[in-house]
Symmetry: C2
Subunit: 393 residues, 2 copies
């Protein structure tokens, strides 16, 4: 048995971790635009990156290093350092070797912002001189990595095992479109003092990302810069697999939902519960088709309980299904059941009331097997168009 | 050699074909809401239907009949007769057997409109009493099948062969979202007096649909009711394969582009020319990813020449590609070439001017093979959200 206690200190929750955000002049108006995470003990890193073939320079730089330990991560916003070719990678080498902080080992870098513009090296190198690695300002760090985000996203747990021993795990993330290649990549940095090996945590991370970040969608796109990094400095000397797994899942699911809730222009967080599919893979296909469908997303925004769009999207997803076995519900209100049309004015009022909630669940039981998957999405309204049509200008 | 002369008479261009639209009380304000196509000679039919697993009742009804000839098609708007189960199919039987017009053989039906509501049989049967099969009003017929369309869509050709012999082919279509399951399915009806066999025309239709309707996207969805039917009554006694192929391709490409141009809220028609892909299939994947990407579509609406979003979408599509071989152009203006970043303020002005055009081309050469595909898409603006969020209420 173990207990997860939610605590406040984000990426500084774990022993030995320090972080802060500063203004380097990338964003206007003194807004924080660069952050660091420092550990006073070397860390092993588990990581997962975008599947986009145009992966940004920081990702290529990280992967090129192979197996290594580090104690320092620097992050900038406003420029993604993507589509910048080999120059983008050598820019990172130059930046990292110019940081005048003693004792850094294999520093790494992460970026988010505009694609296709060389990174402003001088400003960023000058920015690193403002870093004070004795600072513990996790909220500043999380603000510095924001782009189109309307709020910063952090979470941390103290994990207490049965014998009273403890470890900590904390995180920060940014992202408001699953991608907005102009601005809003998804980044997540997690720190822990749990005594976990790289191999173990990589395995747990890979599994957890599937049901959390990979199940969340704002606009169905995959950025050039998407990154999750998990830093473990082992300082607590404590580890319990089940507790670690649960804490990591809670953290990543919370942050994934926070991103969808903060989806560009989104007004609602919708959970898509797909059950009764031929297998889990087909359930995932349906859940993601629903969370990505423009027609479903605009109906959500219009608070229109148009179950016909849901059914049609299920049918268009290409999985095994038929109208005679499909069941559709909004929260606990069943609106269509196995070929029976019974949706009337009264039910429409009831369903419309559910759709006015800031968060609700749409369930589809396909009735053909035991496969299930849960995805998270949001509506699409005028603000999304505004943010994405008007950015850069 | 042969010549295609564009003529005006839509689905009545071919000898022996009659059509009209009437008001049956399905739409408000006396708007035309039912249409027929009649041929005074029996027709063979080639057809292609939605891949949506929730295919609507008219499609199930048609497929169930197997091989048959017909001389009559009835079409209604405002109700898709979809998700209506076996009752939806028997409703069609009842409607068709109630039509009091002499000499009808195997009449068929097509529907578009709201999903998940039983079709109003009485109104529709009463509507059929207003049909006059001696009428040739192709524009009325094309107006009657409109839903969210802002203009009606017809086209016809007289095809003159070298020896002076002629045949005709004409069509009407509706569709303004590739799907809006609430309203805007894509339907296309083509009539011809060419002396072509069912087998031949089915083969040509299957091939042509791939590069025309299946290459056009407003919102990336596939309706429950999507239908293309090609009726041939052979009255001209004339046929030439190449001429027929070209005329059919011209007709279907024109109507596909008209649908995209009429895309809900669209202000531009964009042609995506993808070349240099590993194979044609990968080129198609990229072209469709671009035409469906929310981020690309909103950038188009904002007239923002954000080539980074194009590159990122290519990378996210999962095909073989890399930034070192990619080339991106807006019309003839190359904005990114094989790893070189040279996009500057001047080019931005030039590119933005191209994006203000009502129609332009975005070309992506992947530089890894010889595969190519052309797709057609539109932008996504506030009007799309308005149409799709506010419908039904």
């Amino acid at each position: 048995m173990y207990k997860l206690n939610r605590i406040d200190s984000g990426v500084c929750a774990a022993d030995g971790f320090y972080a802060d955000g500063i203004h380097a002049g990338l964003k206007a108006n003194d807004a924080l635009d660069m952050a660091f995470i420092y550990s006073d003990t070397l860390c092993e890193i588990a990581s997962t990156f975008t599947t986009n073939k145009m992966a940004a320079a920081p990702i290529k730089h990280f992967k090129k290093k192979g197996d290594f330990k580090t104690n320092f991560l620097v992050i900038n916003s406003r420029n993604a350092n993507a589509m910048t070719g080999s120059k983008g990678v050598s820019d990172i080498d130059e930046i990292l070797s110019s940081i005048e902080i003693e004792g850094l080992v294999n520093p790494v870098m992460s970026s988010t912002g505009v694609i296709g513009v060389r990174i402003p090296k001088e400003k960023i190198i000058a920015g690193t001189t403002k870093f004070d690695i004795t600072k513990r300002e996790p909220v500043n760090a999380s603000k510095a990595i924001m782009t189109t985000d309307s709020f910063s996203k952090t979470i941390a747990f103290e994990v207490v095992l049965e014998d009273g021993s403890k470890f900590h795990i904390g995180a920060m993330a940014k992202g408001a479109g699953m991608i907005n290649p102009a601005m809003a990549t998804m980044l997540c940095f997690i720190t822990t003092d749990a005594d976990v090996s790289k191999k173990k945590m990589q395995k747990i991370l890979d599994k957890t990302v599937k049901t959390t970040f990979n199940a969340a969608s704002v606009d169905g796109d995959t950025s050039t810069n998407d990154t999750v990094m998990l830093f473990a400095n082992k300082k607590s000397g404590v580890y319990n697999k089940e507790a670690f797994k649960e804490a990591l899942h809670e953290i990543m699911l919370f942050l994934a939902k926070e991103m969808v809730r903060d989806g560009e222009g989104a007004t609602k967080l919708v959970t898509y519960n797909v059950t009764g599919a031929k297998n889990d893979k087909e359930a995932e296909k349906v859940a993601k088709a629903l969370s990505d469908s423009l027609l479903v997303k605009t109906a959500l925004y219009g608070e229109d309980p148009n179950w016909g769009r849901i059914a049609s999207t299920v049918g268009a997803s290409g999985v095994t299904c038929k109208e005679e076995t499909l069941k559709v519900s909004f929260n606990d209100l069943c609106v269509y059941d196995k070929g029976e049309i019974f949706f009337n004015k009264e039910m429409e009022v009831e369903a419309a009331a559910i759709m006015k909630l800031p968060a609700f669940t749409i369930s589809c039981d396909l009735g053909v097997g035991k496969g299930c998957f849960t995805a998270y999405g949001c509506d699409l309204g005028y603000e999304y168009v505004k943010i994405n049509a008007d950015y850069r200008t």
